[in-house]
């Protein structure tokens, strides 16, 4: 708790948070409103109220298939990113390594390469060398994008944690595996969770790379939504988006109760 924060600061904080809530939420509210519209095209304010587009969203194969694809890709990519990124972060923060700075910069570099370049570069590569894009290519690219996020969060956590517990464990005779299982990984846990969460989101929400790497069999949810909006005009896209928002809010609240998600980000 912060002591003696002046009233002005507290008032300013409230104003800022209120503005933030408006800024973030109003467009989403518009989308949610449009999803309830009876009209066959996206309209706001909604003309009449109806849940039919939610029925369409939940039962139509247009979205279910791509949703499965997106979830699968995001989970696998997040797991890969979390594993590899955590391992790398643990190496870099706990051992003095030559070229440590260069190694870290290299591992963080996907963050600064515009995703459109990843998309076009990967497409060119797999079209020229391989059979063209497929699911695993997309998974690998998303995992590559996710690794820097995991590295940042895990190095952040490890940098703030104390080294001596691990030393103590080692001195007391703990083997490598036990060291990791009982000391290092639990210490890193908030960073791993936060990083994996980021990596999952980056993959799930990606529209740019999926746009370049898609095939008839490989359509992710953002692409399905994008395509649907291009060719047809109905509010089911708004319904799908609102559902995605609701599911995530519920999940995050559940995670807060279960593992104190808020603490993981600090």
């Amino acid at each position: 708790m912060v002591k003696s924060v002046p009233l002005v600061a507290k008032a300013a904080a409230v104003v800022l948070l209120a503005f933030l809530a408006l800024y973030m939420l109003v467009p989403i509210i518009v989308v949610a409103g449009a999803s309830l519209s009876e009209s066959r095209f996206l309209a706001f304010p909604p003309t009449g109220l109806s849940l039919e587009w939610y029925v369409v969203a939940l039962t139509s194969d247009v979205y279910l298939g791509p949703l499965q694809t997106s979830l699968l890709i995001a989970v696998v990519a997040a797991v890969i990113a979390a594993t590899l990124g955590t391992a790398a972060a643990l190496a870099v923060t706990r051992f003095p390594l030559p070229f440590s700075g260069a190694i870290q910069s290299f591992l963080l570099s996907p963050l600064i390469v515009p995703t459109i370049i990843m998309g076009i570069g990967t497409l060119t590569l797999v079209s020229v060398i391989g059979q063209g894009p497929d699911l695993w290519v997309l998974v690998v690219v998303h995992a590559v994008l996710g690794i820097p996020y995991v590295m940042r969060t895990v190095t952040g956590v490890m940098a703030r944690s104390d080294r001596f517990t691990e030393e103590a464990a080692r001195t007391l005779g703990a083997g490598t595996w036990s060291r990791y299982r009982f000391v290092v990984l639990p210490m890193a846990r908030p960073g791993i969770v936060a990083g994996a969460f980021f990596a999952f989101n980056i993959s799930f929400d990606d529209a740019v790379i999926a746009l370049f790497l898609r095939t008839p069999q490989l359509e992710t949810l953002p692409i399905a939504i994008y395509g649907r909006l291009e060719f047809s005009t109905d509010p089911s896209v708004a319904a799908v988006s609102t559902l995605m928002v609701l599911i995530t809010v519920v999940t995050m609240i559940a995670l807060e109760k279960a593992i104190g998600l808020g603490k993981a980000f600090v």
Partner: protein, 275 residues
């Protein structure tokens, strides 16, 4: 000490290998592709000649740079106080703000932008605000204006900035703040002379992330700004998917990449604080 000397390298290897495969190769491939003649065969600089000789493409590049810098600045300026509030608040407040901040990321970019099209259109709520003409709003509201693009983009960039800065800010030990207060500095002085300087590396790091994300976006600028306000990422997309001119798109990508590197190098230099 019974640590194997190979331990750190074993830990590092998988990540480095994956990045070499999945990241370096496409980027190098793109660089190579940019010097290939469109009709095939031969190394040439013709793609770059065409790029630098075109007012349209250079204009798009200039707009990308300018808007991205503005968006980055705004995102960071907003994110820093928000991150500070979050780092000093209770877990529940933090989660609530976190949920709010992350929400835009969870709606598909196209649908989220629809929300802005409604709000910024001629009949939209945003366009009816007094004084909005100062931002360039015209008969189409804020649509087709750069201000509109900036507003829509900052909304999505903010979460990245907040979460990155939050990470660093929380590591600024509260004891330092308290020590500063006990030594007589008031709340604002402490912020200015203790918290912010210590957080600068994190702020710089957040800025670089946001800049790269910003310069890479084309869906929102196209939908809110329209085809009359082209950005480089947008022209790359159109030229590669509609025009099928991959070498030329690659040349544009090289320009984009170079620009990002330059700006980031400059930002990181600014963020280095001598302790």
């Amino acid at each position: 000490m019974t640590i194997s000397r190979r331990e750190p390298w074993l830990l590092l290897l998988p990540a480095v290998a994956l990045l070499a495969l999945g990241f370096l190769t496409p980027v190098v491939g793109m660089l190579v592709s940019s010097v290939i003649a469109p009709e095939g065969g031969g190394v040439t600089l013709s793609n770059f000649e065409r790029l630098f000789g075109s007012e349209y493409y250079l204009g798009a590049a200039e707009r990308s740079l300018r808007l991205s810098l503005i968006q980055t600045a705004l995102a960071v300026i907003l994110a820093t106080p928000i991150a500070y509030i979050m780092s000093r608040a209770t877990s529940w407040v933090r989660t609530a703000v976190l949920v709010v901040v992350i929400l835009p990321l969870l709606t598909s970019v196209v649908v989220r932008t629809f929300g802005w099209v409604v709000l910024m259109g001629p009949a939209g709520a945003l366009s009816s605000l007094p004084g909005i003409e100062l931002l360039g709003a015209g008969s189409q509201g804020l649509l087709g204006t750069e201000a509109g693009v900036v507003i829509a983009m900052v909304q999505v960039l903010l979460p990245f900035a907040v979460l990155t800065i939050l990470g660093v800010m929380s590591s600024v030990k509260q004891e330092l703040e308290e020590a500063s207060r006990m030594l007589g500095a008031n709340f604002w002085r402490t912020l200015r002379h203790v918290v912010i300087p210590l957080s600068l590396p994190g702020i710089a790091s957040g800025a670089t992330l946001v800049f790269a994300l910003s310069v890479s976006s084309f869906i929102t600028p196209r939908l809110v700004g329209g085809v009359q306000l082209p950005v480089l990422a947008g022209t790359i997309y159109v030229d590669s998917t509609v025009g099928l001119d991959w070498p030329f798109a690659a040349a544009q990508s090289v320009l984009l990449f170079a620009g990002v590197i330059l700006v980031i190098a400059a930002t990181l230099r600014l963020g280095k604080v001598d302790r």
